[in-house]
């Protein structure tokens, strides 16, 4: 038993919207699950175990794994819930690798979802932080990220306009993705003239809040190629949560991403990420992250990202396209967001990206971000490890 090679063999997602009043959470989850099973020509009987994730306080449901059984397909199956904040989706996604690689299960269904319309997103995120030391001043994701952006810009002289290029890129890519929530083109001027929310972050710099779900099926090597002609094999991953109080964080770069990507590249034998990786789906919840964090992930030296982005290196036709799906700035159903990155990376490897397909993807990278400036990374490839 154990140590099996394993791959993502099917994906499914909802069409993402700001509010899905037509379904409850269980039905929303089921929509993604059904689409995922259809993608792999599977039935729920083929699934050996289910893992689900979200954040309780966005919907006010305690024990979500047991509550969602009818939608998830977990009835009379091994089922549990993982949750790590923004990284929930990738936490859930990576669990599918471990569970199938362990030999305990052959095929595992992993689900991330959120109905952000059901609560005040900023208030719910604020409760993620320490009640005594963080909550007095902390103001959800936007406030925390704004403090990071201020530090990064002050350190490297990057500008709000540099950041705006990231928002325009991702929103432009989203036009090719039928599932994305925000599918209206925007310009640099639109971003720059949008209302200031929390200096230096403006409305069009940040992700929306979304109702949506995503599911993927992992299968071990005994089944993967029977289900999918070009599975997305898991080659390496890393998860780093080095900080737990906001005041401890180093905001000049994303330390957790630096640690995680170095570890994963080493395991996957990647020496020059910009050259060797064909596409990246990065959890970039706001524009400035598209600068600072791609430095942390090793695409260029510190302070070099504004140039890289302005030169179009990360556009669809560039050397290393980032976020062909439109990324988080176009769609953000939080518990699903990082799993969408992993699913999109798998879709690109499988060659199922349609209008958003990057040609000849052999190596794809997906990341998650959340918690207290935490990161994780997964490397998926068309080649069996």
């Amino acid at each position: 038993m154990g140590k099996k090679r394993t791959a993502i063999v099917a994906t499914g997602q909802t069409h993402h919207r700001s509010s899905r009043l037509d379904v409850n959470g269980i039905e929303l989850i089921n929509e993604a699950v059904v689409r995922c099973l259809e993608d792999g020509d599977l039935t729920i009987e083929d699934i050996d175990a289910v893992v689900i994730g979200n954040m309780d306080h966005f919907e006010g449901i305690n024990y979500v794994d047991t509550w969602s059984i009818d939608g998830s397909g977990g009835f009379m199956k091994p089922t549990f819930k993982l949750t790590t904040g923004g990284t929930t989706g990738s936490t859930v996604g990576q669990s599918g690798f471990y569970l199938t690689a362990s030999g305990m299960f052959d095929k595992v269904l992993c689900i991330g979802w959120e109905k952000n319309s059901e609560s005040d997103t900023t208030a719910a995120i604020t409760t993620a932080f320490d009640p005594i030391w963080d909550r007095l001043v902390f103001a959800g994701a936007i406030g925390g990220l704004a403090v990071e952006a201020t530090k990064y810009m002050s350190e490297y002289g990057a500008t709000e306009e540099d950041a705006a290029h990231v928002a325009v890129r991702d929103r432009t890519h989203a036009l090719n993705n039928p599932y994305a929530q925000l599918r209206k083109p925007i310009t640099l001027e639109d971003v720059m003239s949008s209302p200031m929310l929390s200096d230096p972050i403006k409305l069009l710099d940040v992700c929306p809040r979304t109702d949506g779900a995503c599911a993927v099926v992992w299968a071990n090597e005994d089944y993967a190629e029977k289900i999918c002609s070009r599975p997305a094999w898991y080659h390496a991953g890393s998860v780093k949560h080095p900080f737990n109080l906001l005041g401890d964080t180093d905001l000049t770069t994303l330390v957790s991403m630096e640690l995680a990507s170095k570890e994963a590249y080493k395991k996957a034998g990647i020496k020059e990420p910009l050259k060797e990786i064909d596409v990246m789906e990065l959890y970039l919840p706001y524009s400035c992250a598209g600068l600072s964090w791609i430095e942390a992930i090793g695409l260029c030296e510190r302070g070099g990202a504004p140039r890289l982005v302005r030169d179009g290196v990360t556009n669809m036709d560039g050397e290393l396209p980032i976020n062909p799906s439109g990324g988080v700035i176009a769609t953000n159903c939080i518990g699903a967001t990082a799993l969408l990155r992993m699913a999109e990376a798998a879709i690109q490897v499988m060659g199922k990206g349609g209008d958003r397909q990057v040609p000849d993807v052999e190596t794809a990278v997906a990341t998650g971000f959340g918690g207290c400036f935490w990161s994780d990374i997964s490397v998926l490839r068309s080649k069996k490890p």
Binding site: K3, I69, F80, C372
Partner: protein
């Protein structure tokens, strides 16, 4: 299965209110104890899994409160499970079996003292159909107990015997919260909570943390006191109470069958030497006897009448005193597993059962035992 072992366990005392301790303080204590127990340092830990619940902790991303206390602050690869600790130990085990890690540290914490138990457990129920009726952990258990007694003719006295037994066992467990001998009359005459549940049928509100270290292959073989994992299974039933027959634990039957199959156990009553089961309420222990195959369905009451599960019986159940003597939710099942490990090692002190080769531990999740996880560990 003979390449995975539990190599260290640590638990805090279970108390009504550990006011001086934050979540992190409790987890740090349990983690240090587990490391010491295993003869390891944090450098020997390859990855970490926390177990917590955002509702019980009153914070979204509740794992964040304990990252530094269990090694995530050192940049260990980590994950976080919400649910009972037996499930997170399972995930910790698969992460080793995947070949990626050699060891997993799994921790769990809860402070029942910081929240309103009935509001938290009301939030387990569906917001549209069940929450407005006021369902919570107590009255839903009362419904289940009533259904169980009605369907199988189990009596209140038989349920009360579980409480008497477990309270008596707890007197010898240094970690137990309630150390008080209660008689059958005490239980039967205790205050009615939700008919037919009485005060001493119910577990208390508690604070505690627990930590378990799991190792594989060579790392397990080199361990000081390895206790081998023989089998594990988990399974979830329907959510809506009306979709299930609450008197039957089908998911437990399924989880146990899987664990027994792996452990090659065909006659659990004969082959298991001690069991630590999730006795959140007295009647539950009887139901779990049946789900675990210790007796035929409907015969849980008869099994306790015969004294089979007493300390000196054929299959002692909850020698630690179980959850009736201290019930840190989330942590509960992990403590059962830690106790099972101590029993196999012969390290359970005053509540040690003689000649334990094989022990069973059990955790539950969801309303009225919707989901179950069963572990078989042994020499």
């Amino acid at each position: 299965m003979d390449n995975i072992a539990i190599v260290g366990v640590g638990q805090t005392t279970i108390e009504r209110n550990k006011l001086g301790d934050t979540f992190a303080d409790m987890v740090f204590e349990a983690t240090q104890k587990a490391l010491e127990d295993a003869g390891m340092t944090m450098d020997d830990i390859d990855n970490v899994i926390t177990t917590s619940n955002d509702f019980w902790d009153g914070r979204t991303i509740s794992t964040m409160a304990v990252g530094d206390a269990c090694g995530a602050g050192m940049g260990k690869n980590m994950s976080a499970l919400e649910g009972d600790g037996t499930f997170s130990c399972f995930y910790g085990m698969t992460r080793i079996l995947s070949g990626v890690y050699g060891t997993s540290l799994v921790v769990a914490h809860v402070k029942g003292s910081e929240s309103e138990n009935l509001l938290i457990t009301n939030a387990i129920f569906d917001p549209l159909y069940m929450r407005p009726i006021g369902l919570d952990s107590l009255n839903s258990a009362a419904l289940q107990m009533r259904r169980y007694m009605t369907k199988y003719g189990v009596t209140e006295e038989q349920c009360a015997k579980v409480s008497v037994k477990n309270h008596k066992n707890a007197l010898k467990n240094p970690y137990a919260q309630i150390k008080k001998e209660v008689s059958l009359e005490d239980v039967l005459e205790s205050r009615l909570i939700a008919d037919p549940l009485k005060l001493y049928d119910c577990s208390p509100i508690s604070d505690a943390a627990c930590a378990v270290i799991i190792a594989g292959d060579d790392r397990a073989k080199k361990a000081k006191k390895p206790v081998w994992v023989k089998g594990v299974g988990y399974c979830a039933d329907s959510y809506f109470l009306g979709d299930r027959d609450l008197a039957d634990a089908l998911a437990l039957d399924m989880a146990a069958s899987k664990a027994y199959e792996m452990a090659e156990i065909t006659d659990p009553l004969e082959e298991i030497d001690v069991a630590e089961v999730y006795d959140a309420f007295s009647y539950m222990e009887l139901m779990w006897y049946e789900g675990l195959g210790f007796c035929p369905v409907g015969n849980g009451g008869k099994l306790i009448d015969k004294g089979v599960t007493e300390m000196d019986g054929k299959l002692p159940v909850n020698p630690s005193g179980g959850l009736l003597s201290g019930h840190p939710v989330i942590v509960g099942g992990m403590i059962r597993l830690a106790e099972a490990v101590l029993q196999v090692r012969g390290d359970a002190g005053d509540h040690q059962v003689k000649n334990v080769n094989t022990a069973l531990a059990h955790g539950i999740n969801g309303p009225c035992g919707q989901s179950h996880c069963v572990w078989i560990v042994g020499r």
